[in-house]
């Protein structure tokens, strides 16, 4: 058996980011840049005023001075002249500071009568002027390749004058559920059958991770049905199977897919919930085999499939972020398998997070998993912990997972 860390490293190493495509900026949010995005202009393009007021020569801005107002320059309507001694130009936040001026008299520090303005507070040279290029200069890298674009990034790219962005193609993730007992919601349920939940939950998780799901028809527990369904995954960037057979999970799936060229890298991981897992390749398509049990399927997807999709999408493929919380109730020592305890979060007295594991950790209880705010990480052979001890957690509540 290999560790969770070894398994994830092997998966991510076996994956390559998708190619690039051009998308309009309006569709670029959450996409991952495939190249550096370089500013096409300088921002601000000229020295501009940071406040409403008057541009003048600093030497003219002594307390009590009276200047002649030679013009009015709203933002977007620059004044084209050159400011001479004894002159002032009315301007506003964002207005271009005219040639000859090197100070701003604030509106609230000025009295205006017709075309005369009186200085009620001495100016300081350069103050309230935003210099050309203060935010960025043409040629600066605004956003590096390999970044998942936030709303703020989208604004910055717009300001850099890019209507289009080159991003990695959204990875297509084919999802294959197998099992004679599986029905789709709303369809007739066979005797002893259950309604499929894995492919629906995984399809949503694929979206949360930045991929596009492709839900393949449910395959019955026989070789032909499984190979037929898997053939449909040829155009995908990854094939994810869940469950696989009644006799030893994955056995039938492995058998069937070997006929299609499946090679397996590994398939046993020292973790709970979640064994067995398999990772390999069917022709050019990477394959990740998740357990059939819904809780195990989702927890292993959170630990392995999310980073795998992020890697395919052009990111690093790091594990989900781990934060620290305080333990709400004591935990016993752990055995040799890494454990991931379903837990709820609350706010402690100091405003920090308190994580309390649910008393029942049965891997068949999907409802309990949906009520969990976090997974408490328990490394192999972790010692018993008292309430109040710091523990690493993976937050589920903020990720749409």
């Amino acid at each position: 058996m290999i560790s969770v860390e070894q398994a994830l490293a092997a998966i991510v190493e076996g994956l390559h980011p998708t190619g690039g495509e051009i998308v309009p900026l309006a569709a670029a949010w959450r996409r991952v840049t495939a190249s550096d995005i370089v500013a096409r202009l300088t921002q601000p393009p000229h020295d501009v005023s940071a406040m409403d007021g008057y541009a003048l020569r600093a030497a003219d801005g002594q307390l009590g001075a009276v200047l002649r107002v030679v013009g009015n320059a709203p933002a977007g309507h620059p004044w084209s002249g050159r400011l001479a001694g004894g002159e002032a130009l009315r301007l506003f936040t964002g207005s271009v500071v005219p040639d000859g001026a090197d100070a701003i008299l604030l509106q609230e520090d000025a009295s205006r009568t017709d075309d005369r303005v009186t200085v009620n507070e001495a100016v300081r040279p350069g103050r309230h002027i935003r210099r050309a290029g203060q935010d960025f200069r043409a040629g600066d890298v605004l956003v590096p390749a390999g970044r998942q674009l936030t709303a703020r990034d989208v604004g910055l790219i717009a300001a850099g004058n890019h209507p289009w962005v080159t991003v990695h193609r959204v990875p297509r993730i084919a999802l294959l559920a197998t099992g004679d007992e599986i029905a789709m919601p709303g369809e007739p349920i066979p005797p002893g059958g259950i309604v499929s939940s894995n492919s629906h939950a995984l399809a949503a998780l694929v979206r949360a991770a930045g991929g596009e799901p492709m839900v393949l028809p449910v395959a019955a527990d026989d070789r032909d049905a499984i190979t037929r369904a898997a053939d449909a995954a040829e155009g995908a960037d990854m094939l994810v199977t869940t469950g696989g057979a009644s006799v030893g999970e994955h056995d039938l799936v492995q058998d069937a897919l070997r006929a299609r060229g499946l090679t397996l890298d590994f398939w046993k991981i020292a973790m709970r919930p979640g064994k067995p897992l398999m990772f390999g390749r069917m022709g050019r398509v990477p394959l990740l085999g998740l357990p059939g049990n819904p809780v195990s399927s989702l927890v292993t997807a959170i630990l392995f499939l999310v980073p795998a999709i992020e890697r395919l999408a052009g990111l690093a493929g790091h594990p989900l972020p781990v934060t620290m919380a305080t333990l709400g109730e004591a935990l016993p020592a752990n055995d040799h398998r890494a454990d991931h305890l379903r837990a709820h979060l609350s706010a402690g007295e100091d405003g920090g997070l308190v994580a309390t594991a649910f008393p029942r950790q049965d891997s068949a209880m999907l409802r309990l998993l949906t009520q969990s705010d976090a997974l408490i990480q328990r490394p192999p052979n972790a010692p018993a912990l008292a309430a109040g001890a710091p523990v690493p957690i993976i937050r589920l509540d903020t990720l749409g997972l």
Copy 2:
């Protein structure tokens, strides 16, 4: 001036969730439920085995006993008979436990020869049996109304046998940027003009918050242009304006929209960056006026627009979650305005978060905002803080904002 908290409370109070619509389960991720979702079946529907092995009567499961295997019941293929004394049924994880049986002999605790199986480890009654309804029962509320659906919820709803879900309609948020100096990326830039970044950043932020943006044509700084553009917002669930005029932000927008029935609730908030802000209603459409400065526009959008959209989408409209971090560098005392310092996060020695404010907090520096992982909250009149002090932060790095 009113406080940030008062402003948000007034905004959220003035908003009502959109009506419901039916969407396929495959499109339900991140949508907000408009009604309780009730289980249509019991899960598991029968007592099922939690392991691969044999079903038998507990009384027959003594060490060394030899039982006759009367059948084979893979998951999805229940055995219809009634198990008698001295009999065992081969079954697998998820298989229905037959009538008459009340114990499971694990596969690894059994030796099989033809139709005989020997008990190598005494069984315990009920052990390894998942009782009917252990996860949920028909009629249980699986997901309450008003919940934003996670991937896990989607799986649970599928398991509850729902192919369709009733959710709140995605709020349509009209975005109106005004200003003679504004050009769209890639289009000719007027003299003294800048490229619009606000509406692009806000459109992405609207998506991040669960809304659908509608970017209105940029309106020049005149009344007619602004009223024409605002008319296009009639079908929207909210109109968001940015900037508004060179002479006193919003003045021209207020003037123009008053002719269309604008009523204002408030417009000055004791905060930085971000004044002035306005909130009101134009006919039946709520209106939120954000500052024109890109950093102020985004920070106020994070504080007010995100909760507003969440409220329209059917959620509570709470402020973004605040977590605690340790201060990386000392901060001076704050004045009477709530401040939101752009900061980067790093990991402390104990694994906790360390937040360090950027030395320059100029509200014209959009690039710096995109490099911020968090906003450090500084309440009005907050005292100076030493490095290492706990501070409340709003994380930006995990929200797609």
